[in-house]
Symmetry: C2
Subunit: 316 residues, 2 copies
Amino acid sequence: LARTSLAKDVLLGNRSAISKAITVLEDGLPGSSEVYRMLSRAAGRAFVVGIAGPPGAGKSTIINCLIKEFRERNSKVGVVAVDPSSMITGGALMGDRVRMLEHSLDKGVFIRSMASRGSLGGVSTATRRTILVLDAAGYDYILVETVGVGQTELDIAKIADMTVVVMMPQMGDEVQAMKAGLIEIGDVFVINKAELEGADKAVLQLTLAVKEKDGWKPPIIRTTAHRCAGVKELTEAIERFRKHMTPERKSQIRKLRTREEVLQALRKRIDDLIHERLDSAEVLDKVTEQVLAGRSDPQKAASELMKFLFGSVDEY
Amino acid sequence: LARTSLAKDVLLGNRSAISKAITVLEDGLPGSSEVYRMLSRAAGRAFVVGIAGPPGAGKSTIINCLIKEFRERNSKVGVVAVDPSSMITGGALMGDRVRMLEHSLDKGVFIRSMASRGSLGGVSTATRRTILVLDAAGYDYILVETVGVGQTELDIAKIADMTVVVMMPQMGDEVQAMKAGLIEIGDVFVINKAELEGADKAVLQLTLAVKEKDGWKPPIIRTTAHRCAGVKELTEAIERFRKHMTPERKSQIRKLRTREEVLQALRKRIDDLIHERLDSAEVLDKVTEQVLAGRSDPQKAASELMKFLFGSVDEY
């Protein structure tokens, strides 16, 4: 009953209810199923924008400017900032994030910073649930920032309706190497710090690399985010993409997202089961020793563990 | 029989056999179990050094210098470079990597660049197997470079006997935030680009943050890697750490590493099973639709899938 009223308060846009609902869903507290279902029925209207790019490119600064632009257009904005710093140590709020929090005084803005937990699918499950709550609470745009490269970005691209990729000129070899992956996921590209030398070259390189998909040619926008220059154009590009997206495509994305969420819950369940049953069992130690001694190998050891865990299931 | 002779050729240090064995183990080709076991019996002598740090800090350049130093000391060096660029597009060799390949003409150096596959445990399983082959083939030091932040680095820290963390002065907020995690995994720290302004401050900050563990106070070394300055000191620090490590600790690490490898093989097996049984099944679509309609939630859906997959196993 308390949970029913919590979900209702979220739908009314009550801020402390939103915070609490996110915690309830993230931590799977009692009643979370009910909250999930109630919010789920109300959700599906928000537009989720992933903000990806290498560290230092200026993603947080751009988000700050985007918040201002969307607010001027009377759109409510939610922000989910995934913070990998907290992975081991418990996290710290850095300068950019602190600046972001200034917007928290605005009722039309809700910011949630979350630790990436380093566990299997931990970030994306928590991010998905936070998005669900903000969506149900009536936020029009939900910006999802991720710090980091590789898997996390791909995860965010799967979650979002569109992805904005932020880069800057003068990126080193290593960042160049990441670009290949970033180019595939971007619907809009930003060259931030456009006042730096090399910006023209960066735009040109991107122009050659970026390809049209589904009738949309990803635009490349120059920004100087520390004074929000160019972010108006970025906002317009986001709005254009939103209009470009058909309802069919949108509901297709939502279905894929839900399917992935179910699969992640399944994987988590299995992972918990593995720990629960193996951590105290001697069988894991035994097969590990056999592999160490060269009398077995990980594949064979995995087969034995499958038998131990799931017994009668046919052929692994 | 062919596999037996392949493993023997690896033990003799034959380069094409090493390449082939890595492929056989990575892809789980026929006979891979046998190869794994034979190599496993010969392995355990190499010292595995993880090289972690934010993009652009100069990890590849430092590895190039380390290779030279170790070769001057007559140590054979293997390098495993994990390349996230290939995650979606198939990968590209960038400048630093190409420079690294120059060493490939030296018989005492073996370099393997591997794509991070983005799949569950894909990188670390492949990395572990490559390390096994190089270890069995008699390489004294195996350097594992990873591009990226967060989970991948933690994975590498789990695999390596020690971890060198490479940073540079003048890192932005975002990189600062990552530092917290990096500090926990470093056994030796490098401030590269030590000629840049802010190097003294970076060293001081690190000195304050780094803590002694197990009788080892992680040293902080300044380098200017593009001319290999300071890398002699780094090499000596690595050798010191190697001597500092007791045989008990070393075998404990090896056991943990093997245990983790077995668990990853298990997770991979389960993941394959999930795909095999669910991709063609209607049940996944059904439960997804229920969640979408707000009639179910991911937890409940996961329970249904557990029943579908593993049937009679008790209580999930």
